[in-house]
């Protein structure tokens, strides 16, 4: 099996709960870097990182500009910034216009991650009430990465996973708990 080098996750309405379930389900010592774009209100503080950081050994923090992507870490896009991945595997941020009414944009994160990590990337679309992430999922598949959508029928909000599935570029549709089991199976 190919060794995956990064996981990108996009979530929107209902995302906090879904992310909690997913991250909680990961084995202690899970070390593939995780990068998350969750739509948040522009004025929210970074409580989400603190909250998710309590769940297991994975160190969850807000992504800083120029920060290097490290094993054992999960990074969250800061509210009101787009998060991009650079070729040297560091983060950069921009405040350009919203994309799909959202900043951070899941598409921007996924597309730039796809260009850098190529077939060594996993893209996951969770619950959400818009179409953000669908273009990004297409691009991840184009470069040979692995793509997963949360099962729309059990997602709090099914629009986003449905839109991703409709691109024809989703390889697996799973429950949150199954996604965690699948990711755990990639270790060692």
């Amino acid at each position: 099996m190919q060794a995956f080098e990064a996981i990108v996750i996009g979530s929107s309405a209902g995302g906090l709960h879904a992310l909690k379930t997913l991250i909680k389900g990961l084995k202690p010592g899970f070390d593939i870097p995780i990068i998350i774009a969750q739509h948040l209100s522009p004025h929210s503080e970074n409580y989400m990182a603190h909250f998710l950081d309590q769940l297991n050994t994975i160190k969850v923090k807000e992504a800083d500009e120029r920060e290097k992507i490290l094993a054992g870490h999960a990074y969250i896009a800061p509210p009101n910034f787009h998060l991009l991945i650079e070729n040297d595997r560091t983060f950069s941020l921009t405040v350009e216009e919203k994309v799909n009414y959202a900043r951070p944009s899941i598409d921007i994160l996924f597309e730039t991650a796809a260009e850098v990590f190529r077939e060594k990337l996993i893209g996951i679309i969770l619950t959400g009430a818009n179409h953000d992430g669908a273009n990004g999922i297409r691009k991840i598949r184009f470069f040979g990465g692995f793509t997963i959508a949360q099962n729309p029928s059990s997602a709090e909000s099914d629009t986003m996973p449905k839109a991703a599935i409709q691109t024809g570029s989703i390889l697996k549709t799973m429950e949150l708990e199954e996604i965690a089991v699948f990711l755990n199976s990639l270790l060692n």
Partner: protein, 282 residues
Amino acid sequence: MTNSVYYEKDDSILQLEMELLLEAVFRQYGYDFRNYNKAHVKRRLVYRMQQLKLESLSELQHKILHHPQVLALVLKDLSINVTEMYRDPAFYLSLRKEVIPILRTYPFLRIWHAGCATGEEVYSFAILLKEEGLYERSQIYATDFNTEVLETAKKGIYPVSKIKEYTLNYQDAGGKNSFSDFYTARYDAALFDPELKKNIVFAEHNLVTDSVFAETHLIICRNVLIYFNRTLQNKVLELFNESLIKGGFLGLGSKENIMFSTVQDQFLITNPNEKIFQKKIL
């Protein structure tokens, strides 16, 4: 913003074309984007290439060199001008509480807004200076390398549709009056009090290629350094260090920092969350 996704399997060719294009823009027009963050520049150039229905960045380079109006489009693409009044109200509140009391001790103030875009930040701070009784002794420089946005900034007219949000921001920033005291609304436009402009000079200045033009007491440069790589960030921070008087202040964007930069040791941290720093008096 386009919905189409650009696919290019061989990234090394795209990278090469991008480097050549940026070199060409610099050599021909003097705008230096060679040390801007690559992922951002690539996205914006590819967007423009698609809009113009071109096949490659090499074709875009050709257009830029032979048609200056295409350069204008690309400059606009690369200079993200998104801004708002009192963006991050806590930043302004901190300036009011922690910086203004010290600025008050100077008989004359020079304040520089670097990368001011369409000017919302400049008027926000000018109002704050008025409320604190410091406006009359201030000289404000508002600069950007994009002359188009400076024209908008000079007008001081913003959409009425934004005023509700700006009013909330103003209040959170510690505003002391009614925000409507500072503008007159006409149809869908809010014209800010021309008195606010009296001590403001709007001028073209490129942080990458131009040098220091004044000795300043406070520099506000927010959400500009995020587009630069480390080398360029250091260069610009050194420029600010040179311009600031000893004891002068520097305010950056919420995701920008002087930590790990070459000027780190020259500054004290005034407010770590709001990214406000003070040049050491030594």
